[in-house]
Amino acid sequence: MRIKMRIKMIILMSFILCFIASWSIGQEVKVGALQDTTGATSDVGKDEALGVREATQYYNDMGGINGKRIRLFQYDYGYRIPEAITTYKRFRDFDKVVMVLGWGTGDTEALSPTINADKMPYLSSSFSAHITDPKKTPYNFVYGTDYSTNARGAVQYWFDEVWKKDPKWKELRDKGAKPKFVCFIDTAIPYATAPIKAIKDQATILGFEIGPDQHIPLTGLDMKSQVIAAKGFGVNLVWHGNTTMSVSAALKDAMALGLGADHIINNWGFDENLPKLAGPAAEGAIGLLACSLFIEEFPGKKKVLDYAKKLNPGIPLENRLIRTVQGWLKVGMAVEAMKRADKAGKLNGPGIKDAFETFKDWPGLKEFGGQSVTLTPTDHRYSSIVKVGRVVKGKPQTVGEVDMRAKFPDRWAAWLGW
């Protein structure tokens, strides 16, 4: 009788153990990702999508979210806002994701009222400053210094390091001339227009003369008329607010027509492809960086390379860009928030939002060349530090950083949400 009881106990315990094991194995955390791999920003979006997928696999191999596997749903929406909205609804209603990794400024801003009503954390590759004020957009987060702070930092860096020091501008400096500034942007694309108010404000603070904006389509091939218009104004500094492909075309036309100005370029227009496409026209161009370039050395490079080779062996490493590394930043930040939310027993929208807002000098992205992250319930700006790169001898490289909060402590608070 006693043996019979023991056998029954063994069977019961086996069932319980099997149940616990299958339950823990079967636990998943679903995450949606909107990508542009074929649309107007696919010159940079395709590589970022690869990085997101590879980083997700790495974190899964490292134990996922406290033992729960991340199941990533990654869709190309071709940079078309209606498809982004439809895909978001699929994530919310069908896949039932706990958070979304978003892409462009247009779709991020278009979806913002919906995701905030749904209490869906949304970590975006658009660093638009418009979504960094939690009073208006509490569930929006970004994984890079916002476009407006970056744009201000680019102008500031050029003013301090080039205009004030470079012999090229000595004559004008000695005459007491004001630097002349023009923006080259696709005026129909929210990504390109998002930081324009801030950059013009910064140019005004520094005493620049501002010329008329020149419309540069993301898909444009010929920018000669825009370059001629800027030359007529006598421009010294051009802000390029598009993505790499059209920036490279504009740089080539600027060189061909002898524009003679310096160039500062937004984050998504400056990468390893720029000098390959623009050739000598890119030499000296200054650009903004969210992290280390793929061609640079950084502490987390080995895992980035290993997972690129493991998951996408068909894509040559020499074609990879900083966008791959940005994908790692995005996933790394999301994983940290989800781990914290899970530990707090709240792996859901409000729990993940609260977890993001506990980030205080979090150094997790430093291994990819990102910044220490501090987020609060009143400020979702990722960092005040602007990382600056420059094309030197045909290769882009990191050349410096500007801390805009340290430089303008009295203005920093008022710049929230610009």
């Binding site: 043996i3 019979k4 056998i7 063994i10 069977i11 094991a21 194995i25 079967g26 791999t37 074929t38 649309g39 107007a40 920003t41 696919s42 010159d43 395709k46 999508a49 696999q57 899964n60 596997r69 199941r71 749903f73 990654q74 869709y75 190309d76 071709g78 993301l218 898909t219 091939l221 492909m245 390959k276 496409l277 493991k310 998951l311 996408n312 062996p313 068909g314 894509i315």
Partner: protein
């Protein structure tokens, strides 16, 4: 009463033990799934309208999924990039990315067929030529609109007048036969159709 119960337990544990250890695992070199492009079907082709108005083209990519292992494998994610050959150049242009998350099991020691339908439109193809393919186009001195039109108008004529490639392919599988139970494993693939004559 005790003996039959004990025998039954021993048999259950014995069989499950044997099943758990026997045969090729899908992560062994010889047991790893193989994916090949069998053919491409033209599923739908709208009548050509001049750009920028869109013309639709649906392509069915039929893959052979060979599972030589002794375990069923579950496909969790299947993605590849669609490339068209620029006629007369032997170079391929990337036009779209097909991604599927439907979950499906492939039985042990079988070759199954798996179809992915991908829709292209001429506007999207034009943009793809203008952005990611622009350096290649400039190098080959090709124009965007005529090339787009050529693909969409010639596709429905003759015996596939240009090659189509499913490239940068990656299938993500899981299997109970893999150590750890649910660990993902990856199978890269690539194929062109029609095959070179």
């Amino acid at each position: 009463m005790r003996k039959p119960l004990l025998m039954l337990l021993i048999m259950i544990f014995g069989i499950s033990g044997v099943m758990g250890c026997a045969g090729l695992r899908p992560t062994d070199d010889a047991g790893k799934p193989k994916i090949t492009l069998e053919r491409v079907d033209l599923s739908r082709l709208g009548p050509w309208v001049e750009l920028p108005a869109p013309t639709v083209m649906g392509l069915g990519f039929v893959f052979n999924v060979d599972n030589p292992s002794s375990y069923p494998i579950k496909l969790e994610n299947f993605k590849f990039a669609v490339f068209f050959e620029a006629p007369g150049t032997k170079e391929f242009m990337v036009l779209s990315t097909a991604t599927v998350y439907d979950q499906i099991y492939f039985a042990p020691k079988t070759v199954s067929q798996y179809r992915v339908v991908e829709f292209l439109d001429s506007g999207g193809v034009m943009r793809a030529l203008l952005i990611p393919n622009r350096p290649a186009l400039q190098r080959l001195k090709l124009e965007v609109n005529p090339l787009t039109k050529e693909w969409f108008t010639k596709m429905g004529t003759g015996d596939f007048p240009f090659q189509i490639k499913a490239g940068e392919g990656m299938a993500v599988f899981s299997s109970e036969g893999v150590k750890g139970g649910k660990e993902d494993f990856f199978v890269p693939f690539e194929g062109t159709f029609p095959k070179k004559k």
